[in-house]
Amino acid sequence: MQKMMGSAMVRRRATVVESERNFAILLVAPALVILLVTTTFPIIYLIWNSFRSINLAMPFMNGFVGIGNYATMMHDPEFWHALELTAIYTVSTVTAQLVLGLALALLVMQIPRGQGVFRIVAILPIVLAPVVVGLFWRTLMLAPNFGLVDFAVKALGFEAVNWLGAPVPAMISVIMIHTWQWTPFVFLVMLASLASLPPDVYEAARIDRANAVQRFIHITLPLIRPAIVIVVIMRSMIALSAFAAIFAATGGGPGTATEILNLYAFRVSFVKLDFGYGSALAVALMVITLAVSSVLFMMRTQRAR
């Protein structure tokens, strides 16, 4: 009796597994087909192009060049410059967002009332189109002699800064713009994380006479570490693919002072009309993004253990 039931269950289980599998495939199929058509084909096309010379300005040179474009890249100072800027941009925006967002969340946690106002105001920059953000900052805020930031700086008695006209301030400006738009994101995540922490651990710590800094380092930080890691991953990926706001604010300039890899690939493809090399740059950016996120994900799982 016992045994019979067992084998029936095994049999039933097998069909269950099979039908579950079929059902799963049925559910995933439409989405995958769409993704296959809309992304796989373009990726393959992109990679194929990256092995070819497609320069509209010199059509007579077009053809298969193997790794030629990638070899060019290795010796292209503009590529390395763009890569360096991408690294600076990503690291500094993510760090700034994290530090400011966390600090702000800690601050707002102390406020007895009015947190809701913060949440609402924090949403505003997040929902704006980056291209609008870039345009507004460029003229209404940062333009020398007209912009409000310029006015404020001078009104406070500082020397006027040529925000978008000089290389270093321009880089600082685009970092600032991105940080302005996305710190609220980090802030909201951190606020939610802090709010979800159990209050009793703090009570215990307070009894142990731990001071605020100790409590933060030894209790809060380890507890919100998963949130921090996830935020770093998400923000890094967004920073690596930033485009519209910089494009609208500086166009990569002055010179190439704010031309991160994404903008360089765009310029090579659409201004220099070198689609082959532009494709190679886009592939490089994709590989870098993948590599960075893989490393971050690995760090995440390792820490979790």
Partner: protein
Amino acid sequence: MAMNPHKAANLRRNILLYVLSALILAIWAFPIIWAVVVSLKSEREVLTYPPRIVFDPTLQNYRDAIFGAFSIAQSFFNSFVVAASTTVLTILLSVPAAYAFARLRLPGRKSLGFYTLVTQMIPPVGLVIPYFLILNKVGWLDTYQGLIVVFLTFSLPFAIWLMVSYMEDVPKEMEEAAFLDKANRFQTLWHVILPQVRGGIAVTVIFVFLNAWNEFLFSVQLSGNHVRPVTVAMYNFVSVEQTLWAKLAAAALIAMLPMIIIGIAAQKQIVKGLTVGAVKGGGRR
């Protein structure tokens, strides 16, 4: 009546906190408030320096942006059609897929999951040319369906990823209870799982809509007179001769109005969406 010193210190601390907070709030809100101010000025007034706070406000810029020769009204409608359709399709496709990823024995789940992740990382710059060629081949350049399909490429992986996190939060026991009742799998998904992830769907809807509405790069290259979205149309006020800043500000604010309304109204859902995976340590990869 003397205040006790502890209370006084507390009050001082609170005042300091509020002042500091108000300052930070101002920094966040200011560019937007300033855009509103600019949109109410005349073109002549916009660049006056030092900037004037007191001026004769006018609604002419809004009138021009809505009813003028460069009305963005049609584009507003276009954006709505594209963003709404993208959202509906994305939900229809991503919810079942996310369920399968999160809960079912799916052959090759790991690699498929990795694949959807990779698709999120292709730089859009590299996709413009392939999309242009493909859409042209099928005759979908400058059509609603063309933009919608292109928008699916970035909304779908994102939505699947988001929905998986929500699916994973549904207690396993609920499904199993449903199975014992011999309800078939589809009914399980429909009657048991979906009600549990309603919040997650709302969050996904908001984010997909938001991203589709704000898109610029593909919209510029792949749309034309027929379906130009509002993020591109507002550039009508940036002509080769001059930038009409006040009208641009008005148009940009109108363009962003739905987003601002959604942002404020659905504030709770957005925060949830942002924090999904982060707070609970969540989504699997």
